[in-house]
Symmetry: C2
Subunit: 226 residues, 2 copies
């Protein structure tokens, strides 16, 4: 499903060059559950954006479903993204003018779902994240953690085969955080793939595969122990 | 320094009314260190915005340095804020076009500091939060945790007597989180006042006074035990 071969991502600011990703190699099979941990600024979000076809490597190759993404134009990447990938951004990127329900409904509208089917799924997703009573609130009428939960519901809207979650519990208390993780892990139980970036070791250790990032380099901890 | 008497803050969305704060009473003396914990949506940010003179109660009284804030107009509140309060917002609110250094320098420029003095303090503050090598990056060229640390450095720029921090470590790994807390607690050691909202019980328990919020109501846990 996913193969990164010697992938680097560089940024230049003034005369300084940052190696956000530095010779990263990674294979992910369908149905796997991985966590990615590492210090602030180590490259986690950059990795997730690349995996999510939102960014392109400067060096190396990224094969998605066996296809070299370097050969695909932006429209093609956007189509692949909409069909296969659910993304929970670190800072949510909700549409400010839409309500919570409107934000969750948007992917389904873009995918041509009929109204009754959309409405039923929106209601179920908002209930699943504990926000049935905030459906009509816009993002600026929600608390930080509530916005985060809307972003999670939206990422699951089209039942994607690959879920990429960038610190999905950073603005939640421990109880709500564990509930959200249960919801995301239910995805894996249905045979889908989950990549979870987190700063919380307790959550990171729930994944059978654990990756660590440091200064753009990717390491894998021995599976499932400790 | 701070006295809230029967303070409520209500929001109306459609025909629904949310009690973000519900009959809150609170006294904070200079030099105190308090934490505020509670589930997502319980009113913590609303409380902090009110304390920070960024919002006004719908009912009840807020006395700041003995003055009833209801009698002060917005310009007066802004002056008090600039002179006395440092605020770390939950989602940072950095100025997008300014670099990290520019964001930290801004409060000092508004306060009329000469250039050499500003530059020296900006350098010291960015070093204190571990971002000396990111001074020229704009917010969109920084990771989530790096932006959070710029917001903390900016809040401390004018050495305020009251620091209000809304989940200042939500996007940081544990090590960076503890370092930031050491920095904020140094403020208390100099006799200033710190109010810390956090979802991390380990951090919340570092404060001698611990408040809990639930559905807009404020409770105080017995001091210092457990
Ligand atoms: N502008 C608004 N209009 C309507 N409701 C609002 C508005 N702002 C906040 N709320 C509601 O007020 C309540 C308190 O919000 P607040 O942001 O204070 O919560 P919080 O404790 O900081 O939560 P979190 O931990 O998720 O950040 C929430 O239920 C939220 O939906
Ligand atoms: N547009 C950009 N221009 C320049 N540098 C950037 C840019 N975006 C990110 N960086 C740098 O790349 C590095 C990796 O950033 P990334 O956002 O992937 O970190 P992260 O591991 O997600 O951190 P956090 O836990 O703080 O969110 C950081 O050092 C950051 O300063
Ligand atoms: Mg990140
Ligand atoms: Mg909040």
């Amino acid at each position: 499903m996913i193969r990164l071969e010697h992938v680097s991502r560089l940024y230049a600011v003034g005369d300084q060059v940052v190696h956000a990703l530095d010779d990263v190699n990674l294979v992910i099979e369908p149905g796997e559950y991985l966590s990615v941990m590492g210090p602030s600024g180590s490259g986690k979000s950059t990795l997730l954006h690349l995996l999510g076809l939102l960014d392109r490597p400067d060096r190396g190759r990224y094969l998605f479903h066996g296809e070299d993404t370097a050969r695909l134009d932006d429209r093609h990447l956007a189509r692949l993204r909409r069909r296969h990938i659910g993304f929970v951004f670190q800072f949510f990127h909700l549409v400010p003018r839409l309500s919570a329900a409107g934000n969750v409904e948007l992917p389904m509208m873009l995918d041509g779902w009929p109204l009754p089917r959309r409405r039923a799924r929106v209601r179920r997703l908002l209930e699943a994240v504990g926000l049935a009573d905030r459906a009509r609130h816009r993002p600026d009428q929600l608390s930080g953690g509530q916005r985060q939960r809307v972003a999670i519901a939206r990422a699951l809207a089209l039942d994607p085969e690959l879920v990429l979650a960038d610190e999905p519990t950073g603005n939640l208390d421990q109880a709500a955080g564990h509930e959200i993780l249960d919801l995301l892990e239910a995805v894996v139980a249905q045979g889908r793939t989950l990549v979870l970036v987190t700063h919380d070791p307790e959550l990171g250790h729930r994944a059978p595969r654990r990756l660590q990032m440091r200064d753009g380099r990717l390491f894998e901890s021995p599976g499932g122990v400790g």
